[in-house]
Assembly symmetry: C2
Homo-oligomer: 531 residues x 2
């Protein structure tokens, strides 16, 4: 690991480009997968934790006739039935183990046509269905609440086509994001989206939830990069819109409706997406600043100086790094002392010398201006990976004490961190925060400053109604008062179904409900969620 | 103008960066407005040219009661009525003068509430309405076919808000694109879209038609950069979705439906859009190559070498430049001799030295490899403007002989130019092409290679059914056979209403028609068009 450059930068002749910035030219898979199951087993069912939610009596309970039908269209490997031999917990529980459904049947069809047959049957029979990708969601959107049938896309996992001239990838929805990325990386392209769960989440799942992640600042949202979709509608109709054109103005852009629809109006089975040329050079720098005001100042400078090569601008508060330290025991902390805030900056470009020079200029300016108080720049791929770990370990570290309440919000930049402070105050006032046996470890803040996206994680020793009541609707009211969004990138799912009103007007909600009813009149798709 | 660099590049020590690439650091408004009325007056009405299209008898003909109502809610300046004093040709005719409607009434409301009142009334009374922005469309989408009321957004022309930290602009739909761009330019940002008609077209109009233009290669489509919209629905309901967050996953992304809907399901009255940091440096190079295959090779090289600073990659065929020469009489052609194809490359970035160096490396490679046979690089802002003229003059030059049939299609890169060759063959076979009195001057091709977007312009001395019958459905069948789009960026409008089936499947068309009927059950918005 590099020594910090604070003392050295006092010299005006410092050459970061030559002496310090020497990370290797290409780093494809340096970000580790952070996606594992909570250590705390959730023994209570969602239906027990939320007794006010009732099973919708319109939905049929599965019968042996239904099973026989599914057996008639699917092979044995495509059907998982709960019994003495088969435990469906993996499918019934989310990865945080906050939500636990009671499904007795998981179908894993191997073709789009089978997805169509299943939905057609379920629609006719009024059987509720939960579409499930990698089940890495954070709002309980991919697990059943009651006995909904689980339709897993995991067996639809083929790359269909890749055009190395245009960079357009067509694949099944169930392809794991990391596999898709590795595939295009071999042909000098890169998936335009990256996130911690890449080793488990599906391409279809990230599209269905309009995932944001670590590359949005540079490459924009999936609404811009997805070129086409194949979708099975609730009645089983297959809509093939797998186009591969950057420009196509022929009719309403219907695919947009399914991006971020969380499986409520159709199931995405195929994705056509524009990938981006693989950068030839990466740099990562880890900096400290003394206030959130200075985080913003560094961001403005980074946009000016790093401009077209700036690919990530993440901030982490002190407490988030303290938690990360407890998990990264073998790793030396990048800096010599603790600071209130840390920033991770990534650049990616096509010319290492140019990128080094821009980073050098940027670092000299922020050091000279005294905004940045300490920092390191990765010298090689290993160091680059290590620096990213301090950002990527946070979700895991947040719940290492037992559990975590996760909020993912958009806020104006100036208000971004005040939510974390307000939340800690609120939990203190409620007497919930402190050393064990107090249930709350603390609220931490980190996230994508460049996108105005804060992750507020409340690390807890156990899930409890007291904590939830202290947090909600408090967090949502705060966000609403600042005209933010109660879901920046995680979605609504089960957790935020009742809170959409804090971000959307009654007209908008009415239109959303109207579209849901229009496309899914029997309401069989992903019930009890979204809207 | 620079001398060509062909001979000089024989020297391996050439330094483009030092000696040739000296364009000034910032060029905001160097692209001239190309948007004027055809010299050929179209005396025939659209209804005469297309006798198979009949006025929909469901629509009410305007009465004095209707006029009295509009007078009760609007001021005198907001109403234009056809009479001896008032000629509504400007509103009834498109800028190519291909289409001519018969509207007797133009309303130019000054507030969103008035737009709402007008639509509410028209919906109740079944009065057909054509929303109109800058009326710069190329497919007859913004002018009436019969006696539809014209609702012009020209008086909704205020900048509402601009946030210099995030770069998010909120403005009325009727703000002229160039004004919006100039406004944010003063604050070091740039509108993410640029096109020839910028001096006349409206921000709302470019969103309603999902215009592509010259910056799409770099900044992506409006589906990615538009953050929020204010829309008045056909029944007059105002839907305020003027959000200003890069990330907001709370419900279906309804605004996407209106982007590219061409005013058929709602009228956009306000736009919230993410602008981009203004580049600090621009370079423009104008090159010649000997085949379309070499155009593609240069493109692949440009993506590799210019990567994150490549902001435009336009190609022009020989005939397009011959036509441009006839218009740009005072200007010297950039190169010494004629070639089959020309390429205009623009880079924009944050560091002039780095950009120059990248361009130099790129040019050295394509010259050494013998792909590029001649070329110049702009040395200053004037030269940069002049080089762009050879691309931007083409639409005007195409119709200088009397008129132009314009096709705007997406095709796989390898097939992009073959459509132009096929079209010239087809017109020759039909005996339509040649010197006067043959009606067709010739088919030319140019466009945005980076987006797979070809502009096929058929320059004619007069519009005629013979030409139209030779071109259509021939052009659309060709595009369909290559799995392209019959409208890359111009939209469907009136011209392509019946040709959507060449790009979209019957399921997709059914869903599009279903949405139209859902949101506009009386079909009052922009009838006889789109779908």
């Amino acid at each position: 690991m590099l020594r910090n450059f604070l003392v050295r930068s006092a010299s005006s002749h410092l050459k970061f480009g030559e002496r310090y910035v020497k990370s290797s030219a290409f780093l494809g898979c340096y970000k580790r997968r952070v996606n594992y199951y909570s250590t705390k087993v959730q023994s209570r069912l969602t239906s027990q934790n939320y007794p006010n939610i009732h099973r919708d009596p319109r939905f049929k309970r599965l019968t042996s006739d239904d099973l026989n039908y599914f057996k008639s269209i699917l092979s044995e490997q495509e059907i998982l039935q709960a019994n003495e031999l088969e435990d469906l917990s993996f499918y019934n529980e989310d990865w945080m183990r906050k939500y636990k459904g009671q499904s007795k049947l998981v179908l894993k069809p191997k073709s789009v046509e089978k997805v169509s047959l299943i939905l057609n049957y379920c629609n006719d029979e009024k059987i509720a269905v939960v579409p499930q990708g990698g089940n890495t969601g954070l709002v309980g959107g991919s697990v059943p609440i009651f006995d909904e049938l689980i339709l897993s896309l995991a067996n639809l996992n083929k790359i269909r086509n890749f055009d190395p001239v245009s960079g357009i990838l067509k694949c099944d929805a169930g392809v794991i994001l990391e596999n898709a990325n590795n595939y295009v990386m071999e042909q000098n392209y890169m998936f335009p989206l990256d996130l911690g769960a890449k080793g488990s989440c599906h391409v279809g799942g990230v599209v269905a939830t309009n995932a944001g992640g670590l590359r949005l600042l540079r490459y924009g949202s999936l609404h811009g990069s997805v070129l086409g979709l194949e979708v099975v509608m609730p009645n089983g109709q297959i809509v093939n819109s797998m186009h591969s054109m950057r420009k196509d103005n022929t009719g309403y852009d219907l695919k947009q409706l399914f991006i971020g629809s969380e499986g409520t109006i159709g199931i995405i089975t195929g994705v056509s997406i524009l990938t981006v040329p693989k950068p030839k050079a990466f740099n990562v720098s880890y900096l400290s600043v003394e206030s959130f005001e200075d985080v913003q100042k560094v961001f403005v400078r980074a946009r000016q100086e790093l401009s077209e090569i700036l690919s990530a601008f993440e901030f982490m508060d002190s407490r988030s790094q303290t938690l990360a330290k407890s998990q990264l025991k073998d790793a030396a902390f990048p800096l010599e002392s603790d600071h209130p805030f840390y920033i991770l900056i990534e650049t990616s470009g096509s010319n290492k010398d140019h990128d080094d020079s821009k980073l050098e200029t940027f670092l000299e300016k922020v050091m000279e201006e005294g905004i940045v108080t300490d920092g390191v720049v990765a010298q090689d791929e290993t160091e680059l990976q290590n620096l990213w770990k301090w950002r990527e370990m946070i979700p895991e570290a947040s719940q290492a004490n037992g559990g975590v309440y996760k909020y993912d919000v958009s806020l104006p930049l100036k208000d971004l961190y005040s939510l974390v402070e307000a939340t800690n105050n609120k939990l203190s006032e409620a007497g919930l925060i402190g050393e064990s046996p107090k249930p709350v470890v603390g609220a931490i803040g980190y996230g994508h400053v460049g996108d105005g996206n804060l992750h507020l994680n409340v690390a807890v020793r156990e899930y409890s109604k007291d904590i939830e009541n202290a947090l909600e609707p408090f967090v949502y009211e705060f966000v609403s008062s600042k005209h933010g969004s109660v879901s920046a990138e995680h979605g609504l799912g089960f957790q935020k179904k009742n809170y959409i009103g804090y971000s959307k007007s009654s007209e908008e909600i009415k239109m959303i409900k109207d579209l849901k009813a229009h496309y899914d009149p029997n309401a069989i798709l992903n019930p009890y969620k979204y809207v």
